[in-house]
């Protein structure tokens, strides 16, 4: 299972993507295979694309109870691969709590390579049981942009963290044999959302989520993501202090409007207003060479707008991977 070279006769739900830099200097796919219920599509594209794009899909637009998807990804030196989805990954209700729907992703990125994973959020339906494991092994100069987010379910149907269980684990490792240190865990980000209460006096899952409708994590690593990582750290450091008061006089505030703000300042002002109005909370930290951003918002759309705004404003994702971002 750990082998980067699975047998050619792949099992249900297995898929494999190998991206390689072609002689013309453009990233291309050496291999792309998949088995039902997994579906991978790489649209034909103009040759000047900065990265090769793959749609990570499933038949029926979601995973039915008991589905097992197992995707292995290899990015060769200097190659760039972008993986996106089309719409939420729905996780349908399991008929029994012991029927687990699983999605596993193992990726290896070689030196100078880059992997960008910008899927839509996972939307677990009421009664679903889902476990997602994503393991990334990165060579010393490899880069990774990973977005992983989960919603409360179909809010229009009143679902509000109504699933049985949702386990999500993201791991970033150094590639073994890369230097003297062999295969070290850099970041492990795990969520355990379980409807089972250890004690009746403890909070239910819904109460524990504290009126948040979407929870997301962005993990950035590597030379190509340094600028974006620094951007998040700087924006976090520049957040207005909670509980601080604006002591400026009305005239001073007006003067600011008249004198005008730079484009970046205007953007930040609008973004901060949006954060405040939508109740979006976020934080960023530099952890063992990775920037980890966490965000949560009452409304799914607010989370989507916020992360999109951050990525577009900074611009690295467009610049490095092309205009594939959601």
């Amino acid at each position: 299972m750990n082998s980067p070279f699975p047998k050619s006769s792949s099992a249900a739900g297995e898929g494999k993507i190998i991206a390689r830099l072609q002689p013309d200097g453009v990233s291309g796919l050496e291999t792309i295979t998949y088995q039902y219920p997994l579906k991978l599509i790489s649209p034909s594209k103009p040759a000047e694309d900065k990265s090769v794009l793959v749609f990570f899909l499933s038949y029926g637009g979601g995973l039915v109870g008991g589905d097992q998807v197992d995707l292995s990804i290899q990015v060769h030196p200097q190659a760039k691969l972008t993986i996106v989805t089309q719409g939420h990954t729905k996780v349908f209700t399991s008929t029994k709590p012991d029927i687990v729907t699983r999605q596993t992703l193992r990726a290896q990125v070689a030196s100078g390579g880059a992997l960008c994973l910008l899927p839509d959020p996972v939307q677990p339906f009421a009664g679903s049981v889902y476990e997602q494991t994503q393991i990334f092994k990165l060579a010393k100069d490899a880069s990774l942009c990973l977005l992983d987010w989960v919603t409360q379910g179909r809010s229009a149907r009143g679902e509000d963290w109504s699933f049985v269980r949702w386990l999500g684990r993201n791991e970033v490792w150094t590639l073994p044999g890369d230097d003297d240190s062999g295969g070290r865990l850099l970041v492990r980000d795990s969520l355990i959302l379980d409807s089972a209460q250890a004690h009746p006096q403890m909070k239910t899952l819904r109460e524990s989520m504290h009126a948040i409708g979407i929870m997301g994590t962005l993990i950035l690593r590597g030379p190509l993501m340094k600028s974006l990582g620094d951007f998040f750290l700087a924006e976090f450091a520049a957040l207005p202090r909670i509980g601080a008061r604006d002591w400026r006089s009305e005239n001073a505030k007006k003067a600011e409007v008249i004198e005008g703000l730079s484009a970046a300042e205007t953007w930040r002002r609008d973004r901060l207003k949006m954060e405040k109005d939508s109740g979006l909370l976020w934080s960023a930290a530099l952890v063992r060479g990775c920037v980890v951003v966490k965000f949560g918002a009452p409304e799914v759309e607010a989370g989507r707008i916020w992360i999109g705004s951050m990525l577009v404003q900074e611009g690295s994702i467009d610049e490095i991977f092309g205009d594939h971002a959601p």
């Binding site: 980000d189 929870m215 109005d277």
Partner: protein
Amino acid sequence: MSQSQHGRAISDEAQAIENEIADLERRLAEAKLKQRQAQQQRNSTQESEPNVISFPSPSQTILHSPANHFLLLLSDSALPLGSFAFSSGLESYLAHNKPSSFSPSPSSSKPPRTKPPPPSFTSFLPLSLSSYASTTLPYVLAAHRDPARLASLDDTLDATIVCTVGRRASVAQGRALLSIWERSLSASLPPSSSASAGAAAAAAAILKPFSALLRSAGAAAPTSSSSSVNSSTSTSTGSSSGWNDPPPVSAHLPPLFGAICALVGLSLEQTAYVYLLSHVKALVSAAVRAGMFGPYQAQKTLARRQVQEIIAAVVEREWERGVEEAGQSVPVMDLWVGRHEVLYSRIFNG
């Protein structure tokens, strides 16, 4: 054997085991009853002969148990871990959930889908315990079960605390505990000739190289009062948070606590209980200093049956969870703790 026969055989076997358990329980109950009756008889004969005063001799296991002694030391709030500097997100939780008195935006027309309840300690405590246990208790248990894994558990845990403030709190208290161990506790371990033979030697074999590794990393221990006001840059948060390779060990509290408790002879259950109770005590003390309630209410909260039951329940929940499966059960806690940095006024360091 057909499948249905096979199934029947299994259910017969299960029935037999159940019968056996019921029988054993019945016999235990009978034996206990006899014991009680005998005791009552003894007591009544003593009362009838007032000139023969006989007290039961003191329990040697309690009076002469080094484990019991260390249990009390390690559960003491006077243990100088510097826990008082941190509120584990309580201060940030209060700031984030304050009824917005002077920041209503006129354009926030859409009310939130469901309003979170107003902030209260009784809401925060179970959330905090659940989160603290699911993220760190597996590391305490694993280090207690095998103290030799201390360094690797510490490195793995360092990879899982993905927030600056949480890292600071964990490392500050872990390094404080390591210092207490080195300067204070380790000298009092029983010599290797005594009953708990080899404890001192085992401890030396594990903790000496660990602290050597910590020193070699050149990681100067950040004191709990080290201020890193308004900064989320790498310099403020210890060397494990930079863009560079992380140091070999960081000295987080959970694995050190588990290993040291094992070395002084605390049972796994005692260790887990003291670990979580200390967290509750730190929270309650933070709540007192944050002005949420006074000292009597604090003791009342600590004494509550509910607190005992929740601690027991989360210990049982985490008992078999491997460190690979540890994770955040209250994701919003990461936001509160992480955003402690952006509070305007703070009385805690985390």
